[in-house]
């Protein structure tokens, strides 16, 4: 019985870890673009509520607990275990669970949206880490919080580190330094730490003393270099994307922290800081998505950057170009070197086993899209454009061309290649269009593309569901999966297909993605329950059914 419970928990833990990852992703991506209050609210309403409900339910009914001891934890004032430490890393006896961690994330972001960086919490938690361990641990902890998406504004982490470095002059030992923040006294209990007023001493805003800064800055740089080496070795598209996104932020922070001190860098450090500057600048790819047209396929930042950076480096440095791009930057991981060097970035789309690297990963689509996508929250996005000829036939588009006096099919297709496919082809007719008309065309193309997507999805999904030939059905669903990799129903149908084909193991990953993409859809939980049952996890199945019932009832109300 005990082993059965563990097994059940292992399955649900997969799901809970993915919920947590999605939440962490929002914080990481938000560091690249000011998180808009509306985007955060949409995320919290459509996803946060149901995540929280499921996690609290799982904890209460299943006794499901966090296990990852490398996870940094941070207090919040809404939902935090009484005896738990306010900061540090997860320990088996801390009673900190998924819902507590979630409450901290949501609380931090809400604060940041209204007030900017959450200095009181950052400083309190890092002082605690300093007091319980040392300054290096406190700094490492702050970077770990950032890596796990606890904060949406990177300025807070950077300033707090600068304050900590400067705080070394406040006393001869950690006790004296901490006391300087709490009116001359050192907090004795958790309650003291959480409740005493904190005052940042004025001296910490003075220029950082060079000699005091040296060891800690050296530690920060060395740890950053180690992180850089580590990220290159990652071979999972989601893990890679999240760590790389957080690292580009960190590179900017570390560089600025070095420049804030009056220490003179060696030529080697200058070289390294220049590379950090480049890597930080590469992070601007994330924000560039905001300017994309609504119909543009959501290529992964990796695929986007690799395609043009490889061309630049190879044209400038020949066959050594790839070598330099790989080593000097952090555009793609070691695992992709060989195919990218040989075939360029197009191989990511062409080879089935590399396809996942070519698109924004579905398991963190909502976080990504909430931060960057112009078309959010529509998830019926196509991973490729429709042919220009097909788009030209959409009544709205046809009408536009007629009213603009562009009658020939060839001219219409040429314009669509440039505006819709975003290819750089000169077209006399496009040149003749006024700016206002171009804007109008973009709008129309957004509507036309969306209409074509919904039409295609509905038609092909129904055809696939009703298909009786199993081989053909699988082919149709896989085709849809490649074309619409962010659409939840496609994953649900794939899960149902494999479940009914007697392969619940394979169904599991599909249903997990469906639930992540659309956590408030009762049908996803129903299928999840059925698959869990088939996998021999009846308690997990009961839990999934309970969520399904709740969602179905909520919908009726």
């Amino acid at each position: 019985m005990a082993s059965q419970t563990n097994k059940a928990n292992a399955r649900l833990r997969d799901l809970f870890e993915l919920f947590l990852q999605d939440v962490q992703a929002l914080g990481i991506f938000a560091s690249h673009a000011t998180l808009k209050k509306e985007a955060m609210e949409t995320f919290l309403i459509s996803r946060g509520g149901i995540f929280d409900l499921a996690l609290q339910g799982g904890e209460a009914l299943q006794g499901l607990a966090l296990e990852n001891t490398s996870l940094p934890v941070l207090y919040n004032t809404r939902h935090w275990p009484e005896q738990a430490p306010l900061a540090g890393y997860l320990t088996p006896d801390s009673a900190i669970n998924y819902s507590h961690v979630l409450a901290t994330h949501f609380g931090n972001w809400a604060y940041e949206c209204s007030h900017g960086p959450f200095y009181p919490r950052l400083i309190r938690a890092s002082l605690w880490m300093w007091y319980k361990n040392d300054l290096e641990s406190a700094v490492q902890y702050l970077f770990d919080l950032q890596k796990h998406g606890y904060f949406s504004i990177d300025q807070g982490v950077e300033d707090t580190i600068a304050i900590l470095i400067a705080s070394q002059s406040l006393g001869k030992d950690p006790q004296e330094i901490i006391a300087a923040y709490f009116d001359g006294k050192v907090p004795q209990s958790n309650t003291d730490w959480l409740n005493w007023d904190i005052q940042v001493p004025q001296q910490t805003f003075a220029k950082i003393d060079a000699e005091a800064a040296r060891p800690i800055l050296e530690f920060i740089i060395m740890e950053t270099l180690a992180e850089w080496e580590h990220i290159r070795s990652l071979d999972d598209p989601v893990a890679w994307l999240l760590r790389q996104a957080a690292f580009t932020t960190r590179c900017g922070q570390v560089r600025r922290l070095c420049l804030r001190s009056s220490l003179e860098p060696t030529l080697k450090l200058k070289s390294i800081l220049s590379q950090f500057e480049e890597i930080h600048a590469d992070g601007s790819v994330y924000l560039s998505y905001r300017t994309w047209a609504k119909f543009a396929p959501l290529k992964s930042p990796l695929s986007l950057q690799a395609s043009y950076m490889l061309k630049i480096f190879q044209s400038q440095f020949g066959e050594k170009g790839e070598e330099r791009l790989y080593h000097d930057r952090l555009i793609y991981p070691a695992v992709l070197r060989e195919p990218l060097a040989k075939y360029g970035a197009k191989i990511l789309r062409e080879q089935e086993q590399l396809f996942e690297w070519s698109i924004v990963p579905p398991k963190i689509f909502h976080s990504y899209a909430a931060c960057f996508s112009a078309g959010y929250p529509d998830s019926a996005l196509r991973s490729a454009y429709f042919p220009a000829e097909q788009v030209a036939e959409v009544p709205l588009v046809r009408q536009f061309f007629e009213l603009s006096g562009i009658q020939e099919q060839e001219a219409r297709v040429a314009i669509l290649h440039q505006v819709y496919h975003e290819r750089l082809i000169w077209s006399q007719q496009l040149d003749a269009l006024l700016t206002e008309q171009r804007k109008q065309l973009l709008e129309i193309l957004g509507i036309a593309h969306q209409a074509l997507c919904h039409e295609e999805l509905q038609r092909d999904l129904i055809a696939a569901i009703t298909m009786t030939d199993s081989g053909e059905k699988e082919r149709m669903l896989n085709h849809l999966h490649t074309l619409y990799p962010w659409f939840p129903a496609v994953y649900r149908e794939l899960a149902i297909f494999f479940d009914e084909s007697g392969d619940p193991q394979r169904a599991w990953d599909f249903i997990l993605t469906a639930v992540l993409l659309e956590p408030d859809q009762a049908m996803n939980w129903q299928s999840l329950g059925r698959i869990l049952q088939r996998l021999g996890d009846s308690t997990g199945a009961r839990f999934a059914r309970a969520i399904k019932e709740f969602l179905a009832e909520r919908k009726q109300q």
């Binding site: 740089i221 860098p265 450090l269 070289s271 220049s274 590379q275 480049e278 630049i312 480096f313």
Partner: protein, 235 residues
């Protein structure tokens, strides 16, 4: 043991000549362009001291290898000597030294060991050289007669360290004196070695620019690099 990072000489040279110019490929350039006359001032300003290049075989001279891996080289050599050595991988971004470092060339014969080959190329009669050792030179661009100092005792890592420290301390002292008097370093260094009864060999009149370009290209072809240990801030 704390982590030791090394960085390619090429990256450092690129940084030295880059100035404020930045483009999509960062500072990256090709070795030939680094040593153009227009860069002479920038190179001299950024590399004001002298250079030492270590010739060693990762297996035959294994105590030299462990000395390099230990990372004490940078503190042993002081701030006016840039100590360079070969690495069996690219290091245009920082690479940490570990037990696997240098292993790719472990089975190469001494006749084709890259660092030996590069030092031999500085001498008209390379048969006089005994390895391991370190070759000293003082400019990037001008012609010069490098000074090669063999390591007489490599029976232990500590013996290597002691001898290196002695030679580096002497080089530092000579450099500071010659720098003050605006005199050439290499002749004075050779005299000082003679006075200290430390054996050495003088190389032929070589163009450092040519040697560097060839050396960087030679290692590039072998997927290796010329590196030095990363120190972060000036003392």
């Amino acid at each position: 043991m704390s982590r030791v990072y090394v960085l390619s000489l090429q990256t450092q040279l690129e940084e030295a000549v880059a100035g404020e110019r930045k483009n999509l490929s960062g500072n990256v350039t090709v070795p030939e362009q680094l040593f153009q006359e227009k860069n002479q001032q920038a190179l001299e300003a950024n590399f004001p001291g002298v250079f030492a290049f270590i010739g060693f075989h990762p297996a035959v001279d294994k105590n030299v290898t462990s000395y390099l891996q230990s990372g004490s080289l940078s503190s042993d050599s002081g701030s006016n000597i840039l100590v360079l050595f070969t690495l069996d991988t690219h290091a245009t971004s920082p690479v940490s030294l570990n037990a696997r470092s240098f292993q790719r060339w472990i089975n190469l014969d001494t006749s084709v060991q890259p660092s030996y080959t590069l030092i031999r190329s500085m001498f008209k009669d390379p048969t006089v050289l005994t390895f391991p050792g370190a070759v000293f030179f003082e400019h990037f661009i001008q012609s010069q007669n490098p000074v090669y100092v063999p390591l007489p005792d490599i029976s232990s890592e500590d013996a290597v360290r002691q001898h290196m420290r002695k030679v580096f301390a002497l080089a530092e002292k000579v450099y500071l004196l010659s720098h003050k008097k605006n005199k050439s370093f290499l002749d004075r260094f050779a005299q000082a070695l003679l006075a200290e009864k430390i054996s050495y060999e003088r190389g032929g009149d070589i163009s450092a620019r040519e040697w560097f370009v060839k050396a960087l290209r030679f290692l590039n072809e072998r997927r290796g690099d010329i590196v030095s240990i990363v120190q972060l801030f000036k003392p």
